[in-house]
Symmetry: C2
Subunit: 324 residues, 2 copies
């Protein structure tokens, strides 16, 4: 599913975006060029560029700055995805083979680095210290979030507050940067930028919690990857954190012992999924995701009605209702 199906408002911009994105990725090195072409054809939702465009539209007339910002955020996002797939040893993303599975881990590392370099090129086009500041903070939060996640792998006593910190860094930081950069592109005032920053942060948290929910309760065919991945990868997310707090001590210790076992058979995955469901972990996480989506909605409530405003509201709903 491409985001322009739910927000036709940005359809034209997203078409232009595809050209600009493919253009900046091009390389004189044949191997590099082949891989970046594969990457740019995979597309994905283009949710982050859409957020930049909508946030800009909400505050003024779209300019080239919004396009440059959209290219920057998607480059940064794609770079982290390519490295994530190596870190998580993933073979599929959105139903397509990952770069590490088609080529190898070494090439994926270098192609991810190439995308980071192209991010610098795109930042240069923005010609704005403020934009650079937003992107620098965002990139640092993302990479620290990834390391925080590794640090808490197999930490089955992870506190809910640490989970939110992790989600805020790993995912919401970029959503937040997209929305702030969109406002900045139309030279919106500091208050508007701050508002969009918070809107993106709430949207990003809702989006990630939904991601974590889909890993438990999604449809593998729609997701383009198997469910239960987080259990296999020893990642503890909100549904499980909540389920563990609801279980009595004996049951909790039993489940933790099961989780700590190195072997990950399908029986184990099914048993954990059932436990999470029975303890209300899914509905709890759904409620939290909904409350963040509602906070996002509220933040932009004060804006006069416009196509951009209603698209952003649609996106906030999409973040928690999507099936992939």
């Amino acid at each position: 599913m491409n985001i322009d199906a739910i927000t036709p408002t940005v359809k034209t911009q997203l078409q232009e975006f595809e050209k600009a994105f493919a253009e900046i990725l091009r390389s004189q090195v044949p191997l590099a060029d082949k891989i970046v072409q594969y990457i740019s054809e995979l597309k994905g939702k283009r949710l982050r560029p859409a957020l930049v465009f909508l946030s800009a539209q909400l505050h003024g007339i779209l300019t080239d700055k919004a396009m440059d910002a959209a290219v920057v955020v998607e480059l940064l996002h794609t770079a982290t995805l390519i490295h994530d797939d190596v870190v998580d040893n993933s073979v599929l993303r959105r139903g397509h083979p990952t770069v590490n599975s088609l080529w190898d881990n070494r090439i994926s590392i270098l192609v991810g680095d190439l995308l980071f370099s192209r991010t610098l090129t795109a930042v240069l086009n923005l010609k704005s210290q403020e934009a650079l500041s937003i992107l620098s903070e965002c990139a640092n939060r993302i990479t620290e979030g990834e390391l925080l996640q590794v640090e808490h792998e197999r930490d089955y006593r992870l506190e809910e507050s640490v989970y939110y910190d992790l989600v805020a860094k790993k995912t919401a930081a970029l959503f937040s940067a997209c929305c702030e950069l969109g406002a900045l592109a139309t030279q919106a005032d500091a208050a508007a930028r701050e508002r969009m920053k918070r809107f993106g942060e709430c949207l990003g948290i809702a989006f990630q919690i939904k991601d974590d929910l889909l890993d438990y309760a999604g449809d593998a065919a729609l997701l383009g990857k198997p469910v239960g991945n987080d259990i296999r990868e020893n990642k503890i997310t909100l549904p499980l954190i909540h389920a563990l707090t609801q279980a009595d001590e004996q049951q909790r210790e039993e489940i933790i012992r099961l989780l700590e076992q190195d072997e990950v058979g399908e029986d184990k995955v099914k048993m954990i999924v059932r436990f999470v469901q029975e303890m209300g972990g899914l509905s709890y996480a759904e409620n939290v995701a909904r409350s963040y989506a509602e906070q996002a909605h509220e933040i932009i409530q004060s804006y006069p009605e416009s196509r951009a405003k209603s698209s952003l509201i649609t996106l906030a709903q999409f973040a928690i209702s999507r099936e992939n």
Copy 2:
């Protein structure tokens, strides 16, 4: 060996640099902080920061800009080293265990990314579109150089011209950026910047050819890593390229068959090293390295005598005379 032993001119700046570098690396995430502390204590030659300081000194009074630029280039360099060690599966660097061997590949990828993010932070401090432009071009050349190298792995018919292109991108690009950034930090004119850019490019090529030579003829104890690594990693460098052109067709095909064998025993490595030596590959590469060092020397010949000038000349000599 630390660079300040041969260029006392930059000793004070390098001491301040260590503080600034350690400071920008710090992280709130305990795992990340532990690793970046390990990285900052390893030090290394600090050749690139020294180049920034010397190039700045050659053109004017040192300012904070030179320190900021030195931090940027060393961050970028360290990020690529950490990823290189994963790509090459290295366990030792400068005699110390690599991040991937002490932690693991996944953590190394993420820590490298953290260093790229910190590069953005440091670029922000520079507050200069021109500096960003230099760094962006440099980062793109480095990553494309790394991919070009992977593309030509096991390409035992690599042409000498492609080798120089690879070396220019992979190594000389950063040396060149260091020297240009140093000049920029003192607001030197366009001609001076261009001159220093070329100086850095020649120095970098000389430095990399010497690196490739040390891999054949260095002392493992001084290098802190075994010799013959490039043969084991299927990297073809100048000494071997030249040796192959000097051999008759039968001998060339024999050596290529040997190189193409997957197994890399010590006998094979020794045989290749002997072949390269006998065919004059080492002395040829030494001559080329020397001619680049001399070109570098010539470029700054026109400057009036100063401590910075003689240090840069010393560095050009060091690039080709060093033993590690």
